[in-house]
């Protein structure tokens, strides 16, 4: 028994997280009036899986709480307890405590004992309340098999499990699998009244209890168990048939807890679905495996190399003439196709649907709307959109913040909405879609919209350089400034002004940008543009002098050859005049210090870029073509360079630098441009 059980902790934590998420989603979607029994079963199974796992690993606090929760759920799914909104709320609260407890175990810090105790008490109360309405026929045989895990002292788990099972098999063959598959009700019509108790309490039950009339005890004492809780157990057993057990006993130790809970659960009818298939939530796991992301990253890197090698081969292949050349070309085409497919499938391994991320929001919206006395309907759209896993993790915080903002600041109170002629129920749409090489995640509300005047006032008050005739889009960007909040009062939900700048920073850190659309009284929308993946970028290759640069397509608005009339000079600098606006123009050869570049702008190409900060044009010699490039870090062996996001390797093996539009916008300094960009 000296298996290093800790190696399974990570798996348990991951799985429990998933189960908790599943439970949360199911609870929220649960129709209180006519609960779907299959959904209740799923919730029960999730709770049960967590309990089983936590028992095995000795996470007693987690186990105790899930156990009580499970009892409640068991009654719910057996229709012995009508599910009310209060019960759902209680279960959701319990989920939060479970999450905190799980996190505490994961981080190896102290578990929130008090919160657990409170939750258990609350759940107990809910249980006993329903208990009162039930008839007390505790003495009939008990189908409540899930007690099995609860009463084992964690240290002797394996032994007890095995011995109990084998005993069970030997002595009562009709009871096959009984011990392990908790959700199979005990169909055995027990001869002894207390059959269930005897079986499950066995590890803790002292041998002397065999003097009881209960023959089933005798089967199991063969296992040599520690007998620490004789007294408690005994008293519980005595009490159980008649009265709900006081909660202090429940919290005092694991074993009486189990017994007590059983005692409080009502008797199920014996006819009830005895042959229900043991549908375990674990069955789903066969469809997926957990892989260390490090391995996937290594694979992505290797595929990147393969793509580069393949394009080198293509170049060489074009130089081979004759029959050999033709055959080579066929082979290279085949290779190219395979490479592309391999690349796509490897990238898709890293891609996960946003479902898991989105599904946490109904809960958040429900809680928040309740807290703020607002009526909010959250609509999720395009949750199946897939996005790079590394991006998902970093999206959660900004998204949470934006959704909270929409509800707190966007959606108005019902009275106000009614006065404005809008339905009382506000709508927040959380959507995701893929557009070309980028993912757009939108948070749209039909609330009051951003208040331009108030933002400008606040900007003035904060000493920001603003003018009253700034275009809307620039005014909206002001809310991303640090310390900027126009909320009239700081609530515990939002208004501290620390959020939006963090939101923008987080989104920029993952290569995205955020745009705002808003109209007063009608609502506002936040649009997050993200690259599909961080490892490969769709880029436009441009030449400057004899050097090639890659500009991410995400940043490019358009490109054109400027006419003399579009180019104006301002001091010594050239600015671009199109569509009635003046744009800063950055000559890339100047910024990148490239020789032999075309110095006549009218013979060059302007690529209009859009970064999260500014729009501006860059002057390049020519466009080469669009291409997917693998991003390589410059910092691995060198250092960060202003204006450069990274490097990539072109088909001929040469290195090309990838332009960082944000960085250029902030670092390109020219006396006049500085004023324009400010």
């Amino acid at each position: 028994m000296s298996i290093d059980i800790e190696q399974f902790h990570g798996v348990f934590f991951d799985e429990s997280d998933e189960h908790l998420d599943d439970m949360e989603q199911l609870l929220i979607s649960l129709d209180v009036d006519s609960p779907d029994s299959e959904e209740l079963n799923s919730i029960f199974r999730a709770a049960h899986s967590i309990k089983g796992g936590s028992g095995i690993f000795g996470f007693n606090a987690l186990m105790n709480l899930t156990h009580v929760m499970e009892n409640l759920l068991d009654k719910a799914r057996n229709q012995e307890l009508s599910v009310t909104t209060n019960i759902v709320n209680l279960l959701l609260e319990t989920l939060d405590v479970l999450k905190a407890t799980l996190a505490a175990y994961r981080d190896q810090v102290d578990v929130p004992e008090q919160a657990i105790a409170v939750s258990i008490t609350k759940l107990e109360r809910a249980l006993t309340e329903t208990q009162d309405t039930d008839t007390h026929i505790e003495a009939s045989s008990h189908s409540d098999a899930f007690g099995f895990f609860d009463d084992e002292p964690d240290t002797t788990l394996d032994i007890s499990q095995q011995s109990a099972t084998s005993d069970n098999e030997l002595s009562t063959p009709s009871d096959d699998g009984f011990g392990f598959f908790d959700d199979i009700p005990n169909e055995q019509v027990a001869s002894a009244e207390d059959d269930g108790f005897g079986f499950f309490d066995e590890p803790d039950v002292p041998a002397i209890t065999t003097v009881a009339s209960d023959e089933s005890f005798g089967f199991f004492d063969t296992a040599d168990m520690p007998k620490p809780s004789l007294k408690a157990n005994d008293s519980v057993l005595k009490e159980s048939p008649t009265s709900p057990v006081p909660t202090n006993t429940i919290q005092s130790s694991t074993a009486p807890d189990a017994a007590a809970n059983k005692s409080t659960s009502p008797p199920p009818s014996i006819s009830k679905s005895p042959a229900r298939p043991a549908k375990k939530s674990g069955g789903r796991d066969s469809a997926s495996i957990r892989v260390d992301t490090g391995k996937i990253d290594a694979m992505v890197n290797l595929v990147g190399e393969l793509v580069i090698t393949q394009s080198m081969l293509s170049l060489i292949g074009q130089e081979v003439d004759g029959q050999v050349g033709e055959r080579l070309q066929v082979a290279i085409d085949e290779l190219q196709r395979n490479t592309r497919e391999i690349q796509e499938s490897v990238m898709s391994v890293r891609m996960l649907p946003l479902t898991a991320t989105f599904n946490r929001f109904p809960r958040l919206v429900r809680d928040l709307a309740g807290k703020l006395d607002k009526k909010v309907d959250l609509v999720l759209q395009g949750a199946h959109t897939e996005i790079d896993k590394s991006l998902i993790e970093k999206l959660v915080d900004p998204l949470t913040h934006l959704v909270r903002n929409s509800i707190d600041h966007g959606i108005e109170l019902p009275e106000k909405r009614r006065a404005a002629g809008k339905p009382e129920m506000g709508t927040v749409i959380l959507g995701a879609e893929q557009k070309g090489g980028s993912i757009i995640i939108s948070i749209i509300d039909d609330g009051g919209g951003l208040n331009r005047a108030r933002i400008l006032d606040k900007a003035h008050a904060n000493g920001l350089a603003v003018s009253d005739d700034m275009p809307d889009s620039e005014v909206w960007q002001l809310i991303f400034q640090a310390g900027f909040s126009t909320a009239e009062a700081v609530t515990d939900v939002s208004g501290r002004g620390v959020g939006m700048d963090v939101v923008r920073r987080n989104i920029e850190a993952i290569g995205g940008r955020i745009e705002i659309e808003s109209s007063l009284g009608e609502g506002s929308g936040f649009f997050i543009h993200l690259p599909l993946t961080l490892a490969i970028v769709d880029g436009m290759c441009v030449t400057v002098g004899n050097q090639i640069f890659v500009i991410p397509l995400l940043n490019i608005v358009e490109s054109f050859q400027p006419t003399a009339s579009q180019l104006k000079t301002l001091g010594n600098d050239t600015v671009l005049y199109i569509r009635d606006q003046y744009w800063p123009l950055v000559p890339l050869h100047d910024y990148m210090d490239v020789e032999n570049a075309n110095r006549k702008p009218t013979e060059a190409i302007v690529v209009l870029l859009e970064s999260s900060k500014k729009r501006f044009g860059v002057l390049v010699d020519a466009l080469v073509g669009q291409q997917q490039v693998v991003i390589k870090s410059l910092e691995d062996h060198y250092r960060k360079v202003a204006g450069i996001a990274g490097a990539t390797i072109m088909g001929d093996g040469k290195v090309a630098l990838i332009i960082d539009a944000d960085s250029i916008a902030t670092t390109y300094t020219s006396s006049q441009l500085e004023d324009m960009l400010a």
Partner: protein, 167 residues
């Protein structure tokens, strides 16, 4: 480690191997354990606003590696690039850096007591990057402390803030 210990036992003690190379007329040497490989000079991609002795970056089997011309850094000889120009790829503190030299001459083995201190003054070469001087077959060899040279701030190869910057 046992290999090194065995090696030490066989060759008898505290000598080290150095790779000697030529810059103009001068002979230099560096600790051979830092050498990853030696290859010919190839076209580099220039990096904006870098000092002149940083020629740019190349693709070394998927790694983007900076190339430094030591002739420009030490201000010796002429920085010409032919098919015979040599680049020594170094592996220093998990970073790869290529240095351009006029030629690689030999692997030399020196005992610690063969390495002499340089004159205390009258030498422009920064003593921080100078391990010592040695006489090999009547030829003075300058032993470069390549690790402190490459990681030094004045080379600008390693971002000074790279340690605490994670944005």
């Amino acid at each position: 480690m046992s290999d090194t210990a065995l090696h030490q036992a066989v060759i008898g003690g505290d000598d080290k191997e150095y790779l000697s190379f030529v810059l103009a007329d001068e002979h230099y040497a560096l600790d051979i354990k830092t050498v990853k490989e030696i290859r010919g000079y190839e076209q580099v991609t220039k990096i904006a606003n870098a000092p002149a002795f940083i020629k740019g970056v190349i693709n070394l089997r998927g790694d983007i590696v900076p190339i430094v011309d030591l002739r420009l850094k030490f201000n010796v000889g002429e920085a010409t690039y032919t098919e015979f120009t040599i680049v020594i790829m170094l592996n220093i503190q998990d970073r790869i850096v290529g240095i351009v030299v006029d030629g690689v001459s030999d692997v030399i083995r020196l005992m610690e007591d063969q390495i002499l201190a340089p004159p205390e003054f009258g030498v422009a070469f920064d003593s921080r990057y100078l391990h010592g001087l040695a006489d090999v077959d009547g030829q003075m060899v300058i032993l470069v402390n390549i690790e402190s040279l490459i990681t030094s701030e004045e080379m600008g190869l390693v971002a000074p803030e790279s340690v605490n910057e994670d944005a």
